[in-house]
Structure formats: C-alpha cells, structure tokens
Symmetry: D2
Amino acid sequence: MFDKLHEECGVFGIFSNNNHDISTLTYYALFALQHRGQESCGIAVNDDGVINSYRDSGLVSDVFTDRVLEELGNGQIAIGHVRYGTAAGSARLNAQPLVVNHIKGRIALANNGCLTNAAELRRELELNGSIFHTSSDAEVISYIITRERLKSDSIEDAVTRAMDSLEGAYSLVIMSPQKLIAARDPYGFHPLCIGKLDDSYVVASETCAFDSIGATFVRDVEPGEVVVIDKRGITSITEHCKEKDSAMCIFELIYFARPDSVVDGSSVHVARQRAGEFLAREYSVDADVVIGVPDSGLDAAIGYSRQSGIPYGIGFIKNKYIGRTFIQPTQADREKKVRIKLNTVAATVKGKRVVLVDDSIVRGTTIARIVKLLRDAGATEVHMRSSAPKFLYPCYYGTDIDSQKNLIAWNHTTEEMREIMDVDSLGFLSTDNVEKIAECQKRGFCTACFTGKYPCTPPKEKKENKYSKKIGASETEEKK
Amino acid sequence: MFDKLHEECGVFGIFSNNNHDISTLTYYALFALQHRGQESCGIAVNDDGVINSYRDSGLVSDVFTDRVLEELGNGQIAIGHVRYGTAAGSARLNAQPLVVNHIKGRIALANNGCLTNAAELRRELELNGSIFHTSSDAEVISYIITRERLKSDSIEDAVTRAMDSLEGAYSLVIMSPQKLIAARDPYGFHPLCIGKLDDSYVVASETCAFDSIGATFVRDVEPGEVVVIDKRGITSITEHCKEKDSAMCIFELIYFARPDSVVDGSSVHVARQRAGEFLAREYSVDADVVIGVPDSGLDAAIGYSRQSGIPYGIGFIKNKYIGRTFIQPTQADREKKVRIKLNTVAATVKGKRVVLVDDSIVRGTTIARIVKLLRDAGATEVHMRSSAPKFLYPCYYGTDIDSQKNLIAWNHTTEEMREIMDVDSLGFLSTDNVEKIAECQKRGFCTACFTGKYPCTPPKEKKENKYSKKIGASETEEKK
Amino acid sequence: MFDKLHEECGVFGIFSNNNHDISTLTYYALFALQHRGQESCGIAVNDDGVINSYRDSGLVSDVFTDRVLEELGNGQIAIGHVRYGTAAGSARLNAQPLVVNHIKGRIALANNGCLTNAAELRRELELNGSIFHTSSDAEVISYIITRERLKSDSIEDAVTRAMDSLEGAYSLVIMSPQKLIAARDPYGFHPLCIGKLDDSYVVASETCAFDSIGATFVRDVEPGEVVVIDKRGITSITEHCKEKDSAMCIFELIYFARPDSVVDGSSVHVARQRAGEFLAREYSVDADVVIGVPDSGLDAAIGYSRQSGIPYGIGFIKNKYIGRTFIQPTQADREKKVRIKLNTVAATVKGKRVVLVDDSIVRGTTIARIVKLLRDAGATEVHMRSSAPKFLYPCYYGTDIDSQKNLIAWNHTTEEMREIMDVDSLGFLSTDNVEKIAECQKRGFCTACFTGKYPCTPPKEKKENKYSKKIGASETEEKK
Amino acid sequence: MFDKLHEECGVFGIFSNNNHDISTLTYYALFALQHRGQESCGIAVNDDGVINSYRDSGLVSDVFTDRVLEELGNGQIAIGHVRYGTAAGSARLNAQPLVVNHIKGRIALANNGCLTNAAELRRELELNGSIFHTSSDAEVISYIITRERLKSDSIEDAVTRAMDSLEGAYSLVIMSPQKLIAARDPYGFHPLCIGKLDDSYVVASETCAFDSIGATFVRDVEPGEVVVIDKRGITSITEHCKEKDSAMCIFELIYFARPDSVVDGSSVHVARQRAGEFLAREYSVDADVVIGVPDSGLDAAIGYSRQSGIPYGIGFIKNKYIGRTFIQPTQADREKKVRIKLNTVAATVKGKRVVLVDDSIVRGTTIARIVKLLRDAGATEVHMRSSAPKFLYPCYYGTDIDSQKNLIAWNHTTEEMREIMDVDSLGFLSTDNVEKIAECQKRGFCTACFTGKYPCTPPKEKKENKYSKKIGASETEEKK
C-alpha cells in the first residue's frame, strides 16, 4: 500500500484422491496467497487429462465468479497463481498458469521467482524459431522443459533436466495430464511447501494457504528438489541437484509472507517480533508508546515494545473499504491520499513520545507523510525504527526493488534521512542481526539487497532496463 | 463481519464558501463513515438551488465512479449517507439521501436512527392520503417536515416544529435549496458533530469523516439542537427543546464508531481500552497472552493487557482481499467460512493460556468457531472476555439487535454459555462499569440493551415484526 | 435512431390462473414492447398480495438478468413498463411501475401517456402536504387514486373516480394486492388491449406483446373504460365515462407501433402500406426504384411501389451490432455517424432515379445526410416522400415533438425543405388522406401535430418549459 | 441467428500516412465486419515500431470501450480481427490478432480461413520443440513465418516463402514493426480487398468496411498475391505463386458477406437477387406474396418477386433489442424462442399463398418453426425456396458446416424434407445456377459443400474430430 516492495507471485497446486471440489479449494488457497500478488490470477484444472484454465487481471475474488468456477469445472489436479504487476492489458497477457501444448501433451505451469539468465535463454530459443506471446519467465521455462521433454521419458525427467539450464530464483508448480510437480531452485530463494488434505497432496508458496483449506503442513520442498505427485503418491528427486548454499530471501520473513505462515521452519510472525526485539536492543530510546505502521509493522512493534518495556499502542486506523473503483486523490495531493486511507488515533499519540516501527524504508516518501500525521495529531517526538536494514542494492530474484537512484538509503546518510522524514531519531536493523531473526537457522539467507552479496550471478543486462521496459511493447526496429 | 450488531447509518453534510469540490469531499467523508453502513449510499448536491442526487446499493467506492461523480456535478451544499441493510432490491429503494419536492421547493434528507412512533405517524399520514415509496423513517420525517413547512416561515422552523412530532432516535442532515440543517433528537442517541474546513462548515456522524477531508472538529450538535448553516454562517436553535436526560447509545463507544473518532467528548479508542481495563479488574486470570478478535476487540485487548500485565499478542490475521464477488463457503461449512477470513497466528497461541477479548457476544456462534481455531492452533486454555455486558433486551433506536429468542445471553446462564463456546472462563463487563468507560461523563448513556431501561417509550408493535418484515413487501390483504 | 419522435411508454399486465412463470412472461412481453421506450423498464410482481418490484435505466434485456428475475420471484399478478427518456440518473428515478403504499395497502402503477393538467393537480396536492419523489405523471395519478381510495369501497371505484380528475392521455395498468386493472383515457389517445393466455388474462399496449408470449387478442380496452381482472374473472366499468369523440394518436399507426401489431382494429403494417399508396397517388414520379429508410419507411415504400408500379428495392443495410458501449463518432462528424450505422446498397441505386420513402420528417437533418449517401452511391435523382404530413404543432399527449422552432416544416416552405435536403422532389401525405390510412375507421384520430386541432385543452404552461426542464432538478429558489 | 452457417473471421488493416486516428478507424471497420464473427475481436496498434494490442471475447462495441481504445493509443499501422466461436474461455484465448515476438522483432497477425494441413504443420513444429498457446491456425502460421524469417532478408520474403508450406484457405493481414502485409491463398477462398483513405492504404475482408470509414475501393488482393504496404507505398508480390484455378467460396455471395459489399467484382446484393431470379425460373408457383426470412433471405425474395411477378411483402418483424444478457427461452420451448425474436406480420400472409425464401437450409429445424408461425398467422399455402443448393458435404476451408449426419439434405429426400418442414412445395437452387449468380464470372467458385468437388485436398483427420474437439482442452493421455 505505502511505497512497499512487491513480491512477484504466489503458487498453489493440488492432486486430489478424495473427490474434492478442487477448483473451489484452489480459489480459497489463492485467496489466502493474495498478498503475494494482486495484479492477476489464474487457475488451471485437469479433469482426466483434459486441462481447462481461466486467468485474468484482478483480485481472486473479482476474477473468479461462481460462473467462471463452474465453467472451469472440477477434476483431479489443479494449479493456481497470483501475480503482482501493473498495466491492465499486459496483466492479462502475463497472467499464469501458462497453459501450452507440446508434442507430448498439454502442461500448465505457475512460477514464483525470476531467472537471471532469462534473456540468454530467450535469445537462444528465438534463434531456433521460437515465438513468445508473453514477457514472463514462465514461457521461457515452458520452452526449456518442452525441449528436454523430447529427449526424456517423463515430464519429471524433463523438469529435472531443464533445471540445469535455469539460473536464478524459481518456485515452480507444474501440471501435466497425469502429474503434479513442484520444483524449487537450488538456492531456495522463495518458499514452497507440501501439505496434506485427507489422502491428497497440496503444494503452496506459504502455509497460510493450507490453513485456509484445512490442509496440514507436511514439509518444505527442499532447495533444488523436484517433487512428483501422481496416483501412486509422492516422489522426491534430489540427486541431480548440485550442493549449493541455500539462500532464502530474508525479505520473505520481514515483509512478503503472511505473519501466520511458517516458512522453511520459521514462524513469520516470530521472526518479525524478533526483528523488533533486536531493534530495541540496537536503538533504544526513552519514549511513551510503541506503534507500528499497519499492517506490516505491527509484529515488529510488539517485539520492540516487549523488549523495551514501552507500552504497545494502536496508532492508526486503516480504512478497509477500498473497492475496485476507489477514486484516488489527485497526484497533487499525495498527503491527503495517505490520510484518506490511514488515520491516526490521536488518543494514542497526543502529547506522547512515539516509537514508530515499520518493516522497511524504500523511498521514504510515505513514511514522511505518516510522520506528519503523527505530529499533526500531537505526538511530541517520533522515533522511527525500520525492522529491515537499509536497501542499497537491486534484487534480481523476483522482488521489484527500485534502481539505486530511487533508494533513499543509497542516496542519503542516516542523518539526512532523519531530516527528510522529520523524525527525532532513526534506526535500521543491522545486517548482522537481520540474519538472526529466523527461529530456524539451519539454512542461509539471501541478504543481497542490504549487502550486495549475490548468491548467484546477476544478469548481464542492466536492472534499469528490466523494469523500465514497457511490458506488452517491443523493439522499435526490425532487425535483419 | 462475525455475528455483529449493525448501526443503521452515517450522515454527512457540507456548506462550502470556498469553491471546494464538494461532491468529492462528500465521497471521501462517506468513505470514512463506511463502517456505519455498507448496504447503500448516496450523495445529493445543491448547485445554486438545484438539487441533483445519486444513490444505489453497494459500497461508496463501488457506487461512486468518476463518471457518476462527474454527472452529479459540483455546487455549494451537499449531503451524503451510508446505510446498513440486506436485500439488493430494497437496498436501492431505501437508499438515502431522500430527495423530494414539496410546495416550497425541493429538500434532501439523510437520517441516522430509528423513530419509535414511525408506525403511528405513517398511519396518520396515510389517513390523509399520503403515499409511501419506501419503508424508511426518512420518508415519514420528510412528510412531517413538509406538513409543518406549509405553516412555517422557513425550513428551519418547519424542522424545529416537526421535532415535536418525532419520537425516538434521529440524527438528521437536511439540505434545502439554500440551507444545510443538522438536527439531533433530544436524547442524543446517535452522534452528530460540526467541523470546519477553511471558511466552510461540515457536519458528520463522526469526527473521522473530518480527519479524512482535513476539516477540524468544532463541537458536537447538542441533543435536541437544530443547527442551520447558510450564507450568513451558522445558527443554533435550542429553545424549543424540552430538557431531557441525554442518552447516547453506549454501543457507539463499544463497537459502532471508529476508534479514531471522538464522540461527545470521548475518544472511542480510549473508551474501549478502558473497557478492557475494567474487564481485567473484574475478571482477572492467570494467562500467557492477551489477544483481541480483529478488528473490534483489539483496543479492549490492549486495555486488558495493560491492566493485567499479561503480554499483548497478535492472535489472528484477517484476509483483507474480500472483493465484491467473493464466493462464500456453502452454508454447510460455517466453520470453514471463519477460517477463510481469519487465520490464527499459531506462534502466538501454541502452548499458551490465552485471554481472548471481543467487544460483544450476540449469538455466540462465531465466537465458538474462533475458539475452536485457537484450540486447533494449540492454545492450552482460552479465557473469553466481552467488553460489553450481556445483551438481554431489544433496541428500538437504530441498532439491529435480534429478538430475544436469538440472544445467547437471554437464553443461557453464563456457565451454559461458557460450555457452548467451549472456553475455560467467561466474563462480561458489568453494567455498572460500562457506563464508566467514556472519558467524558457529563452526559448519560442509553444502556437499554443490557439493562432494559429505555430512555423513551418503545413502539407499540412488536420488535419481532419490525425486523422480520420483508422490506419491499407489503400487507397481504386489501383493506376495505 | 435517426431524428425520430419518441413515444413515452409501453405497458403490460398479467393475471394468471395457470401458474405461469409471470415474471418471465412479463419480461418477454416488455421485450416485444421495447420499441415504445428504451430508457428504462420495470416489473412488479404480486405474490399472494405481497408486491415486489425492480426497475432501472436500460433495455429490458440488460436490466433483467437471470438473477434479477429470480429475486423478483413469481406470483399471480404482474405488471411491467418500458419508458423513453434521456439522462441516466433521472431515468432510474422515473422508471415505472411506480410502487407505493397507501392506507389500504400497496399498489403498483404503469402509465403510457401525458396528462394535460398534471401541473395543476400537483400544485393542489402539494398544498395539502404531498411530497413528490419523481417528475412523472404516474406519481400524480397514484396520489389521486389514493385520495379517492379513502372514500371508495374498492380500488376500481377509486380508479374510476380518479378519472374525473385526470385530463389528457393515459393508458394505465394498475396492480393492487388482489386485482389487475386497466384504464384508458376517454379519448383513447394511446392503444391498450386485452388478451388471453390459457385461462388467464393479459393487457398490453400492443398486440405484438401477446404474440411474443403466445396469448391471443380478445379486444381493445375502449376509450374511457376501466377493466378489472381478479379471481372471479374480467369486469368492465364504462357507465362513468362521458361520451367523447375518440382520438387515437395517428402516429401510432404511422410510426410508433410495431408493424405486426393490430391497433384499435387496424393492422399497423397495412396502414403504413396504405399511406405509401396514397403518397404514390398524391405525388407520382417517373423513377426506377422505390426504397424505404430502414426500418420505419419500409412498409410505406412497399405501398408506394405497388401503387406506382416502380420496383421495390433494398437501398440500405443497417448495422445491427450496436452494443451498450458503442462509441459514437464525435459531434463534429455527424455525417459519418449515419454512414457507420447505415450503408447504401450501391447496386440498388447506382445510375437510378430513386424514390426514397420515410415515415416522417422532423428536423430534416438526418434525411439530408441519407440523401447525400444515395447521391455518393450514384443515384441520379432522389425523390423524397414522407408518409406523414408536415409536423407543425406541438404534442401534449405523450410524444416528444420538438417545439416549433425546431420543426423544419414550421420554418420552411416545401420548396425550401426540398433544397435543404437536396432532393429532386418532395411530397408529404396530405392531412386528408392521413386519416384514411387505418383499415378500421369506426374511431376518430388525433392529428393535432399536423392540424393544430387539439381533442382536449392543452396545458397552460408552455411546451418549451415542459421539455427543457432538467429532470431530477428543481426550483432554484425557496418560496416563502 | 437461426440455424445458420458461420464464417470464421473478418480482417482489417491500415497503414496511415495522414495522422488518422487509426485505433478508432479500425474499431469502426471491425464494427462493419462484425457479421463475419461475433465471438471475439481484437486490435493491434503499431506506434513507431512498438506494437500494443487488446483482444477479448464479445462484440466490437462491447469489448472496445473508450478507455480501452485510449489505452491502445494511436500509431501509424493497425490491424484488427473479428472471430466466430463459442465457449467464453477459449474465445478469449483464441482471439486475434495474435501478437508474438521472434528473434527479429514483434509481429501481429490476423487470419480468415482454415488450413487443411494445420495438423501436420503443428506436429512437425512440435517435434522441433514448439509450444502452442492456442488452437488457432494463426499460431501455426506465425511459427512458419518465423521459421522462414530466420532465413529471409525481410518479413515479406518470409511470408512469401511461408506460403509454400500453407495449404487450404487463408486471408492474412500481418503487421511488422514497419510494414503492413496482406496475403491471400492461391485459391482465393475468402475475399480480401485493398482500399484508399486520403494518402493511406487499408485492407479488409469486405468493401463495407471501407464504406464505413469513408475509404474507397482500389482492387481485390489476387489469389496467391502478397501485398506489402510501407512508407514507400504499396508493392505486390505475385511471381512465387503457382497458377491455380481460383475458387472463391460461393457462400460468401449467398450468405456470409454483407449485401452492400462488392466481392471479387460482384455485388453481393445483386448475386442474391439473381439467385432469387434463378429460383423463380426453376421453381415457379402460383402464389399471392413472396416473403424472405430476415435478414438473409430478403435480397433473394426480391429477386424471386421480380422474376415471378408475385408481389413482395414484409412477412416478419425481427426484434432488434436483444442485449448481451438476453434470457433465452428454455431448451424445452424452442418454438417460443423463434417467436420471441421473430413475429409474423399477419396482414401480409393471412389467407395468402406464400412463397418463403431463405438463403439456405442446414438442419431444417428453424425453418419448420418459421413455417408453423406462418400457418398460425393464417397462410393457406407455404412454398419454401432456398437460394442455396442442398448442403451435402463438409467444408474444410473456414465454414462450420456440420458433419453430414446433421445435414437434413444428406439424410432426406426433397419430399421427406418437404414433409418435415410442413411446406406445400420445396425448391433448392440448382448447382448449375449457383455458379452463375455472380455478376463477375472471370473467377471460379468453390461449391464443394454442394458438389463434393474440393479445390484442394481435405485434411486427413476426420471432420467430426475437428469440430467436436473441445477447444481449450487437450489430449487425455501423456505420450511417451
């Protein structure tokens, strides 16, 4: 809502042995994963090998009406996808699951992540006559799997072999006429987990999707693992995978995932609360109340409060009735925009020294407006605490971090930032402590956006191009 | 959301001397008041005496598109309304502001409340040949004002005289070709306040509407007062009003109003927090964490936590992506319905003794399901605390409290309720303390739903009929 | 479509003794009457005395979806209405059937026509405290009936007495909890007929509504007659009616009614064909082909062809795919607008002397553009024939004839008009012959728009005001 | 409307040198071509080499709102497409223009027709690793062009070479970053013509698209010709094309094309009128009136009337107000369905011997219902005449003729058909005469559906499969 980073996707899959209404289950699972992407969504359903699909731009609860779900029908296997994005036209074109035919049949594919060698793979494929309908990695991956499928005995072999060509971040859910396959990149950048519903298996980006449909968590898909689910049950393919240091995106814990999810063994809520506790130790202050920016700063605020002993309070009320056609205040009045969606609870902050906790500061503009709201409501001091370290480097693995020129922390010292945001003190969680926020420490994390240490080679083409390129547009010249 | 009571309305009005874009300001103000009614909404705009209006069923941000606002146009005076209700067809018919022509011109009227003598007034009017298009009190009030207008020199005189005939609860905002009038019943059942925006005046049900448009609070409309705003400024008419004990609905503080509003001098947030504090004193318990049912139980949970010293925690995550066409789980699976909208944060409650705070318990069915969620997530004990006393009596002043046969507290002892909800202990705020939750104690409160002490005579016809009657339907027999 | 006059309404009613699906039958009947009004529509259904209704702006097939019909439910009596109009907001407010409660129960009312004393009646009612939600005559009539109902033993008595107060044109269909009533003004300005479906009765503006639902025509409602249908069958009340010369609107035959309808004993198609035959006798010409402007000029063109012996041809193709959101060409390019909706069949007119027949010429602007299309397509001569006489006088009985200043015939001689439209010759049916086009000559016709002979006194307020007044708007000053 | 055959598409393209608003022009052109396909539509716009597109299921005037056209933007080249189809989901997926990226840039492609070797080409491409998103020939053609593009110096060379691989019917409009290309198969199965608008070129399936935007006809694209339009003007490539007997689908003249179009030198209206004249000679009868089934039978009815001397009459009124959400009568009552959309003009047929002319008889069921309408309206005799010969063979070139088992003429003798339809006599235009209906006889026609003489080899897989296959579905087994 307020100047936040965006995850690019959430995925879900189900292989039912219990005559579940799998379209509706997928609908509710995607609804639970909606926070991972609000641009577009889609469901593909497999009924005895026949794959039907529907996808469109919009929220799950707007795109999938009773009529659409009815037309989708029911079956034994289904996969679904939610996606973050912008322009309306391209949103629909790039919506997933991608459903394509190849020589051995039809497959549907949903992906969360970002390949670092997508451009190279695309060029190589185009040189062999491939055509591309979308600008998504999912289409590149579909081609690579199809290429391997021609030489493989099974779809799972094709997926496993394809992984040798793919570099970067991906959490894949694939449906063939008879199988459901889940695959996670060797670094395990983004989460992917396995659950059970009666005698059936489900896979999802986050455990909150399991809770929403009454499934129970079984285990995470391991980095580099391919999981195959079919009538005979569940099989794991791991031998092909070269040993790599796992590097789950730390920002999944800090902001992306839902607090009620458990990701790679760690409660998201606890991780955020711990981040708040570390912050309180690193940047203590004498104050009267700790408040969080709703909703993402609340967990860390509680941690800060508990560690510091300063009471936790409700500082803001968010208007939750923003419908599809909400009329945004004009550009000229950005400050009003914040106020219409968020109002201070004056009773909490008036005459108080306030510790304001948020999960991260990207451009800093929204925080400045929120601070002004607090001062207008009578706060005597505002101490800003960010439960993420400073953003200094671009992300190539599926997060839309701005180019450095827009990152406030890249362009300013802490003192300058403090002045820009007009706060009395400002503290960021240290890069040392950010790696300690997870309960489960058996795996490593990717903290490249804070440290610049990239687990795998960034793409050759510049980041700026990647995100400034108008999706749905194309080269302006015809090449010979 | 979950088995809650419903307020019947929110109102807003603006008289602009500053060339404001009053349609848009009314839109944002209604958006801020949306919690008071989600069934239907409407805006009437007065441009140099010509009144245009638009109303429909649905949320403010769905009904008022750019195009509709543009067609409404701009002007100097505007009023708006949000309303709670049910059936789609009747929702539109009963939407307000009501706009009618009478012999002296056109007026628009928006009301929050419920007359206790509406049926008698209606019968009397019908005997004189009146016809009714709607089942709303607003139409009865319009007739009464019109009747008085024929004998009065001004619209404000007519409104003042009309108040002699009206019994029960009403907070009115009326627009004539040249004036904006606000009137509140002599008991002051529901809030109504005055604000200022530049050199212009605004009136609204709650102060949060002022915050959303940048207006500042001036004062409350007093019980029984008529406030007239026109080009000459603001005038108050109070002499007509017989002295009555004011009796603001205590449930405005407990549940209806937004926590960031200040109602008749009391912060809603503080009142709820205090309710939690009283609860902690009345029903202390040895526990590990205090959680609130989102969103209405959070403020009281903080009060309970502060008073008791038991840490406050985030127990639930609410899914905020419920769009217009959200597919409800089938009736058969009510429990699932709760889970899809609300998930427990297992890390907060697992292995813990939990104090669960909510603002009220009406039928008790939803709480039972929420308690089950907590137990499934591993809570070892669940201690339920209600920041409202037990609901025992029907409300005749604008709240849709069920007939007694559906009130769990009317039908069961506390111990029975504890068993039904499957909690380890259960406590309700006492009726003594509920009257002490407001910061500002200069006025009295209506606590009839808890105590049966009605500030003014209930209507003669039975409550059951009032709410079971199909709106939009009619007598089945033709009378001679 | 092209600069045509507009009828103001179509009505339908059914009293079923056969468990018909009356909502759906009313839907199809209104669909057949759609040509009488495309602005708004509505249906009211009576189930055992409980009246439900739905109305909105838009076409029948857009407003009434499966869901809306389902919510309307079924019953024993239903009435429906289609209405012509313009602005979206007011269209919905003024949609009929009007459904109101009075002291003796609820009634629904649908009207086709225009009272000449509506303003006086309204003023009188307002002086007694009446309030008006709409600007429609239907609301005035509802009040008058209600006033009489208080003094009458039955609804039909009230309707009969009310007719003493009503002046001008009206064809009413009224539904009380137990009865269906049809009433036609003493002049019989607009059609109203009775049909039978199994053992049930239906009433409608035109017989084409009967054909669409498989009902058979029984007879016309006589001018001044009140027809009452209830469980005991059908009753006629006529004694109250003072003898008047009937004066059915001749334009019903020329343009308003559907060619497949039979109106007051005359086939509409035959009347138009006869108009063409008279035209051919009055204005013969040496030509190669006779074409009609689709769709309203086709019948008369066939008559002209048959009488003159000049072959009939298809001169134009009309694009029938104009959806709800069709983007109109910009104002600047009106000519293009005609071409996009209507294209010439060059093969029919190229190198030919063409007789072009249309039903009427109001402003003349569209005809001029159509003539240009013919010349561009190679027509060597264009001879224009109008099957209506010249429009010279305003209509006060339910047709939206422009004020005289916009009528081309009022402002220009025939020769000037010929030049303006750029035709080689121009002929209008004579006022003598227009009265002879009906097969059934037992009743008289209203030809006031051609002759200025008004069957009943026109209203005192000027025509200009009547149509220029912004519906949904109001007086600009507050009266003392 | 009534049991008709369906064309599969209409195409349009514009290369503007005059700063035209090409999105809007394409919109109006597609609107004029809407009769060629009502399932889905799309427009692709090229602004300085950047191609944007939008496509969806639905009518042109529903899909392209102001907002969508605005988002599409303007440019120098645009192409558009309308398509016939069924299921909603697949309609959107298969909508054209197809827009794909290949190694040399982006192209957009719109096609009218049906390849006979699509399955073979697809298999060949899949064996090389191609994946398919749609089931349309357009995607196959895009691959073939892309394959050739890798070896060609220009897009037009690629298109020309690709034509060597394509068998069957296609009328292509292709847009590359800098060029607009039109190509027609060597048989010229479907029409494709070139027009001029100011200094700009347009191409379209039919000339009526030119009329709608004010363009003038230049010439037809020749069978086998590739036309290239770019900044330097218009170029024709014909040398590659092997001499073939042209074989334009005769059904374009009989039914598909709009009567105001001129196709390969012949007026469609004249061709239909001539068909009626031949019919009158072949099957004369003593009768009172000739009527056509609207709208497709009207032209031939006029021809029959002129040749026979029997007067032409208007037999039916079609309801033109069928909106998007029209509620179809239930399956059980098919007869009612006809009556709701079509009503007889009783005055025309009552007591008359009627000649009923339609363009074709496929299954015969609808005609039987129409005949019943006539008899119910009092026709004493009904003589059915079809201006197409009997349908006996499937079509493989872009028309959805049913498999033979559904063709009434394949399963019954003329006498049996006469009895089934309950007509007094029945006549079909002879296969000899059908080839003579065109004014311009310099080219041959495909009459395979009547004669079984296929201009080029039908596909190997059975027709039944082709059309019964659920689009959007897939093989049910995974192949090894």
